[in-house]
Amino acid sequence: MATLIDAPPPTVAAPTSKSAGGGLGKYILVRFLLIFPTIFILVTLVFFLMRITGDPITAAQGGRLPQEQIDALVHQAGYDRPLFIQYLEYLGQIATGNFGRTISDGRPVVVMLTKFGAATLELAINALVVALLIGIPLGMFAAHKRDKVPDALLRFFAILCYATPVFFAGLLLKLTFSVGLGWFPVAGRASTSTELAMARLSAPTGIYWLDALRSSDLAAFGDIVHHAVLPAVALGLLTAGVFLRLVRTNVIGTLGKDYVEAGRSRGVSEYRLVTKHAYKPALIPIITVMGLQIALLLGGAVLTETTFEWKGLGYQLAQYLTARDFVAVQGIVMLLAVIVAVTNFVVDIAAALIDPRVRY
């Protein structure tokens, strides 16, 4: 997860002022093209890892049918052909945009991805909001109070956030706030009636609060937010700890720079030095590393989703893995790879754009 290790700089270094005009455009292009090998590698990796571990037919029918019948079914499905041929076939399908249907529950992969992808995206966004709201201000505060008691406490808090497994945190939150105090619902993305209302929408985005807002159903919106709090906090805290540390480290780093000293020598207040002079330059590395956290967030989602009955990609992935549903697994992996690659792409570009040195 490399969560606590500062990420090395991106593979393609951001263009500097020295490169001639048009460098940014080229940079974006190259950075964009890098998405494809990433996806390709992951998909290939997962394809072979999945296929050497068994087939979906044994997974589903093994407890029921004699071996001969299973073998016949496997043969009928073509899973006993040489792997490489199946791999090429798979690549061919992907290239033509045909992702097929999941083997274990017969859904079109694209439909499955949009449905669960939206749920996971919603969870990730909620968690990200929590993480940013907690991580950034507290990180700045810790940097400001560096080496004093509040700083030590905040750092301790950050490490604790990180050290608590999401599922343990989720369990504790659930036991305290829903079972114990009854403030929040136990699980789920919405209560049954809201779920039904969401299922009846004609063109849903799949992100519930967005759908509720679009159909201006405020009661449903309230219900959805109410359900979103605990999962978002459980997953958000994990990332908040990382963000806190990240902001603190980088702000301290820039606080030691000459230009901050220069600001100080002109009489600028400490508060402003932290929140403006040091924070904005620190933002570039912060954003880059935050981009990498999307992977952590998605990984954490697997654990949070089960705990909170949040039917998203992560949970489904675990299910499909057990069912050896490689069509579904590869679909999900591909989507995750795309999300991660695109996020990192956007983040790198954003970081490059925040840096005025690359503007022309």
Binding site: P15, E261, G263, R266, G267, R272, H277, P356
Partner: protein
């Protein structure tokens, strides 16, 4: 424009004192116990005066400067008094201190590129200082608009062309010299009575340095701003200072008007310091030479029309760092290569050592054509080439002892027994005047000068025919530099190797090399016998370079400045 009479006139400039430091004492708490950075410093700065503080590295100049603005880190404890307009900076409240900063006293930093925040416009950064003070009319905080107007004003004062437009530029859109002007503009924004400039020109090329010095002089003349100028460059002191304070290990050892100090230094330390400063035209290695020495010896390095390009990133065109350069280095000859930062000196040196690929023309090193360089075929020649790096600290593997590092070439090429190696290292240590026992030390346990000696020893251990020295002394203090240069000279005489001596300091090059090449933007614009190049430069650029170089003698420098102005005027 003002004339060069200022030096005499200055002491009488005004009776008021903008700054008084009284028995200042600063101590830092560190792992290794307390560091007494400033032990007992008393000085004062009068209205409109330029006070220079000089001294070698670590003598406490920067600490003193920071104390004036109350910028010491929390690990520091200070005693004594620093009075600015009646306020004791050491004891005032934080809020009061913030008011003093920027309004009463401002600071100019050494490295303009790091003193400016890269992600904010320069206008914003200057305005921050203005808006931090109730500087607006009627004691109110300035509005964003007023602050910007004043920022433009300040930029105009420091000679940034088209300030209305440029106020919205980011730092990277300015050249190094302009950046330093912006930093000075930020310092000037609230018209403080005193500017503390800590090595304001050290990071700049000599030609740019000359401009900045000119600007500072103008500020003093036009606005009567007092300046505390911190520097270790005696030329700069001679150029600008009215009065000089010499510091040594946290104490003031001597204080005198500039002319007096240069003419008749009282303290031993000052005298030694002044003696160590290389002075263009004195001590030239090519003194009296009429034609190129060693012309008839075999040629070791021959560059003809040499071009070296760095591949451009992401499809941008390649960058030509060296462009059609031709020269030769003969056996036993010391070739001095000078030029400003980025002119391609290092690139040439590295190409000769096989660290950079050449991309065009021809470069023959010991008869080997570097254009089709192959590490395997070049390797046997490596034992005939020594290399001395600029930063002696970085050029030793921190995990190995000095002895191991020095012996490495020997081990690679001759596979000696440990005893032989030890023997040879011992011999070399003697040649470079290092105690043989230092072989067991780790690099960080040596001083900078000692490390550079060891570096020299390593370069010489195989008795190379050619030595490349890339700014071997620029990281060192003047006094240390003087010793290393002397050593270099001595060893060169003893071993008789040919050398490519690279430096940006004309005076240093002149001391060592009989033949000098001047590099400018990748082109060798002039080469010739050292004293001739320095004495009567032919190329415009060389002329400018030499004129910009301040010499450590106030009177002479005043004359040169006048000549320089004339040159620029044409």
């Amino acid at each position: 424009m003002s004339d060069p009479r200022i030096i005499e006139a200055s002491p009488g400039h005004g009776a008021g004192k903008v700054l008084e430091i009284d028995h200042l004492k600063v101590t830092f708490a560190t792992d290794g116990g307390d560091v007494h950075a400033v032990k007992d410093v008393s000085l004062d700065v009068r209205d409109g005066e330029v006070l220079a503080i000089v001294g070698e590295s670590g003598s406490g100049k920067t600490v003193t400067a920071k104390t004036i603005l109350g910028l010491l880190p929390e690990t520091a404890t200070s005693g004594g008094a620093v009075l600015i307009n009646g306020n004791n900076v050491i004891s005032v409240s934080a809020a009061k201190l913030r008011q003093i900063r920027g309004r009463d006293v401002a600071m100019v930093f050494q490295e303009p590129s790091t003193a400016l925040n890269p992600v904010f416009t320069v206008g914003w950064q200057i305005a921050e200082g203005i808006r931090a003070h109730s500087g607006g009319p009627g004691g109110k905080r300035a509005t964003a608009k007023e602050a910007k107007a004043r920022a433009i004003e300040a930029l105009r004062k420091v000679g940034i062309p088209d300030p209305e437009h440029r106020v919205n530029f980011y730092p990277h859109q300015f050249s190094g010299g302009q950046k330093q002007r912006v930093v000075i503009a930020a310092a000037l924004a609230l018209n403080p009575g005193l500017i503390v400039a800590d090595e304001p020109t050290t990071a700049l090329d000599v030609t740019v340095q000359a401009e900045i010095l000119e600007l500072l002089r103008d500020l003093r003349d036009k606005y009567g701003t007092s300046i505390v100028l911190i520097t270790h460059n005696m030329g700069v002191v001679a150029d600008l200072a009215d009065r000089v304070v010499v510091m040594y290990q946290g104490d003031v050892v001597e204080e005198a008007p500039a002319r007096v100090l240069f003419a008749e230094p009282k303290e031993d330390y000052t005298r030694k310091l002044l003696a160590a400063v290389p002075h263009l035209g004195r001590n030239s290695a090519s003194e009296g030479l009429k034609e190129r020495a060693h012309q008839h010896s075999p040629v070791l390095v021959e560059a003809s029309n040499l071009t070296i390009e760095y591949p451009g990133r992401l499809g941008t065109p390649a960058f030509k760092a060296v462009d059609g350069v031709s020269f030769t280095i003969s056996e036993g000859e010391v070739f001095g290569l000078v030029g400003e930062s980025g002119s391609g000196k290092t690139t040439i040196g590295r190409a000769i050592a096989g660290l950079n690929r050449t991309t065009g023309g021809s470069l023959k090193v010991l008869g080997y054509e570097m254009l089709n360089f192959k590490e395997r075929t070049f390797k046997p020649l490596r034992k005939d080439i020594g290399f001395v790096f600029q930063d002696p600290a970085a050029s030793f593997n921190p995990q190995l002892t000095i002895g191991d590092c020095v012996a490495e070439p020997l081990i690679i090429h001759t596979n000696p027994s440990p005893a032989q190696a030890r023997q040879r290292v011992g011999e070399l240590f003697e040649s470079v005047h290092l105690p043989a026992s230092y072989a067991d030390r780790y690099p960080h346990e040596l001083s900078g000068g000692q490390r550079q000696r060891a570096s020299l020893a390593r370069a010489l251990i195989l008795n190379p025919r050619l030595l490349i020295a890339d700014e071997p002394t620029s990281a060192l203090d003047v006094s240390v530099q003087a010793k290393v240069l002397e050593l270099f000279k001595e060893i060169q005489a003893e071993f008789g190797f040919a050398a490519l001596f690279i430096s940006h300091d004309l005076a240093v090059v002149d001391i060592l090399s009989q033949w000098v090449g001047v590099l400018y933007k990748g082109k060798l614009v002039e080469q010739g016998i050292g004293s001739q190049v320095m004495g009567s430069p032919q190329h415009d650029y060389t002329k400018r370079l030499i004129a910009s170089l301040p010499v450590p003698d106030p009177d002479e420098q005043a004359r040169r400045r006048a000549a320089h102005r004339a040159l620029l005027a044409t």
